[in-house]
Amino acid sequence: MIEGGDKARAEFLSEAQELVENLSRNLLSLEQGRAGGGRVDPEHLNEAFRSVHTLKSLSGLFGDKHMSQLSHRLEDVLDDLRLGRQQLSDAVLDLLFSSVDVYWQILTAPDAHEVRGVQELLERLEKLAPTVSNDSGDLDQYEIDQGLLSVLTEYEEHRLLVSVKQGLELFLVRVQFELATLDKALTEIKDRSKPFGEVITYLPAGEAASPDLIELDLLLASASSLSEIEGSLSGERVTVRQIPRHKRPARSVKASPKTGGPKSRSMTALPNTTQGPQALEGAEEGALPDPGLPGAGLLRSVSQTVRVDIHKLDELMNVVGKLAVLRGGLSDLTENARTDGHRKLGSQLGHLAHKFERSLRELQSGILEVRMVPLAQVFERLTRIVRKTSRDLNKEVRLVVTGAETEIDKLIVEELSDPLMHIIRNAIDHGIEDADERQRIGKPAVGTIALNAFQKGNHVVIEAEDDGRGLNSDSLLDRAIQLGAIAEHEAKELSRADALNLVFLPGLSTREKASAVSGRGVGMDVVKTNIAKLGGSIELESEPVIGTKITLTLPLTRAIVTALLVQVADGMFAIPLTSISEVNALEESRIRVIDTTEVLSRRGSSLELCRLRQLFGLTSETTPARQFVVEVMAGTRHLGLVVDTLQGQQDIIIRPLGRSLNQVRGFSGASELADERIALVLDPGALIDEAGKSSSRERGGRLRLNG
């Protein structure tokens, strides 16, 4: 058991990590915004600022000196940036990214002394002096209510000035919300107005039609016309008014930014207008989010979030498993009651069992849902790696991500980080050519790596595709021959696809020299093993000059899996439903033997068969008159498993076999069934690999693919 102090420290680390990730994500968005036309979404700056702000308080709380100093300094810089006192230049952005790296060091270094570069970074941050001064002159041309201007925070004033300088029009959007759903409604209208411009501030207008409603004025800066905004924001209780420009110069707002102007109509409901929006907290309208920190509502929603150790969810899932066993007992009891003539009791029990079953399912899916997290978590780390790796190698690489919102089990996400990192680094190091070479062969100078994720049934598919030079199958073959994995005459017989698969051989690298980035050939076999451990599969396609595509297919979750139970001789086995494509009775007449491999021909295609009785050396006194073929798949490869009987479906919790059984191929674990028997869980990917291996061996003589 970990002590309280350690536990708090672990919480601190995990929260800090999240904040740093958040900071990094927003910096990347800022960089992309700048690259894509110069428009910088101020909300990203705010988010970054908030992350650092929270990091500052956290590190203070935990007495982490490095982190505290860095956060302190960084907060100032980000504040300057969001208030427009500092220009967001490449140099500044680089410094900010270095800060992220230093944060990671601090968070991962076991010892504070091992963290380097903090002092240097602090000094460089220190040197960033404000470069821009605010000029409020442009504001004079609008007929803006002075009362409104007087309550703007420094940040809001800055945003207003930026908008006006860009020549945007100003609008006053008057909305009425129900008090009860204020937070939600406010977020919604901000989102809806986002495509048109920016909500600079919002203030209570105090003319609500009923006590349950609150009326707000939103100050919106936009390039769109009045009718466009009206069109999109229209709804009951929304009116949009354009703030007209006038010719005569008005007095500068800068002169009295916070000294309180004349009371405006819009402010009459407030007890004290001069204190600005921050004073609203205690006003009778109820708690408004602090407009000084847009999105402060976020802080509040955080308090409704609970951080849970994933293993606690595993424990809950175990309880679900035990309940399932109990449910099995209840069903037996029901059956007994019925057969013993207690019909009424039986039907009552049956009713109860049914309800129990339904609640159990709800509980189970509830726990599963909690475990699901978007892939964005791991993709963001990859974005950082692309940035760093491409810089280190002096290559220009663009990462295009789609489907980052695709959700998958938290434990799987954690384990995906390393394999994906390997794949991406390989793509940049070995795949993408340098800019000169790319241009010489007519490719765009900037290489592209596309990362696509999507859900496909009960699987999540992740594709990593680069437009680099592709794999060289000849050099793969050469290396495989050198390693002694294949003989020269076998190499000639291999198809290109088989040759490409050699890349998954342990110890194979096509590079003569190891590189600092992706190392020497420890990559793809480890990637394959790790993906297989997650119950997933990996496939590789590659065309010379065009590029390489690696496809990972992963189960949504490993916590609980619906499986088909099958019996082979006296053994009970479970096959995850997600990897089953078809189940049929075995028709012996359709089996053909090619070399020594049994193949089932059907509907124009053929399916290689694997008799589990033979594979596992299982025998029983009676041979069943009739057997079944369970067609399993991993990625695009299929195999027909021949089993004796089908025993129905069951939700199972897979437990890994211990170290002692690590060497046993073909199983991904074992599971306790509802009747307390144990079923071994088959690993279709491994079985398919094995079948492929043995049939290749028979064809090619001595081929040892995949070790």
Binding site: M572, F616, G658, R659, L661, F667, E676, I678, A679
Partner: protein, 161 residues
């Protein structure tokens, strides 16, 4: 607690009546021989339950079973310590212990005799005396009168090759 020859089932004591340190050993049989493992390393003793055979497993693995939802690999201790001995008459017992890497391993034995306390003087090291595969699993031999108990090196026994 007067006679150290007695099988002791009470809470373990650290010192014998003479004040010497003692080792508490859980003793069991395989065939005709008595073996022992340190009591502190045994998590629990189970009656033999349904053990599921694992195809293609090493010969000295009986199979897997579950203990309150947790998977335990059951090892055929006989294969490692008494390969020639005929199978026991009883259904046997499983001693659950933890291997070096944290994996729960069950040792299938014929019969559990009880807990015995040995003083250091009663224990003879076997290093260099025995040779062969089995000897690496044997730490020492404890003697009390005519009775010989072979003390097993659990760390070595639960390593899988």
């Amino acid at each position: 607690m007067a006679d150290p020859q007695d099988t002791i089932t009470e809470a373990p004591a650290r010192l014998s009546t003479a004040g010497e340190p003692v080792r508490e050993i859980l003793t069991f049989t395989l065939g005709d021989n008595a073996f022992g493992v340190p009591l502190t390393q045994v998590l629990e003793i189970l009656g033999v339950r349904n053990i599921t055979r694992v195809p293609r497993a090493p010969r000295d693995v009986v199979g897997v079973c579950t203990v309150r939802g947790e998977l335990v690999t059951v090892m055929d201790t006989r294969q490692r310590l008494e390969p020639g001995a005929p199978p026991g008459k009883n259904r046997g017992r499983i001693l659950v212990t933890r291997a070096g890497d944290g994996e729960k391993v069950g040792l299938l034995v014929d019969e559990v005799l009880g807990v015995q306390r040995f003083t250091q003087a009663q224990i003879e090291p076997t290093a260099g005396v025995l040779v062969g595969d089995i000897s690496s699993h044997i730490e020492s031999i404890a003697r009390k009168g005519n009775q010989v108990t072979v003390l097993v090196n659990l760390a070595s026994l639960t390593v899988w090759r």
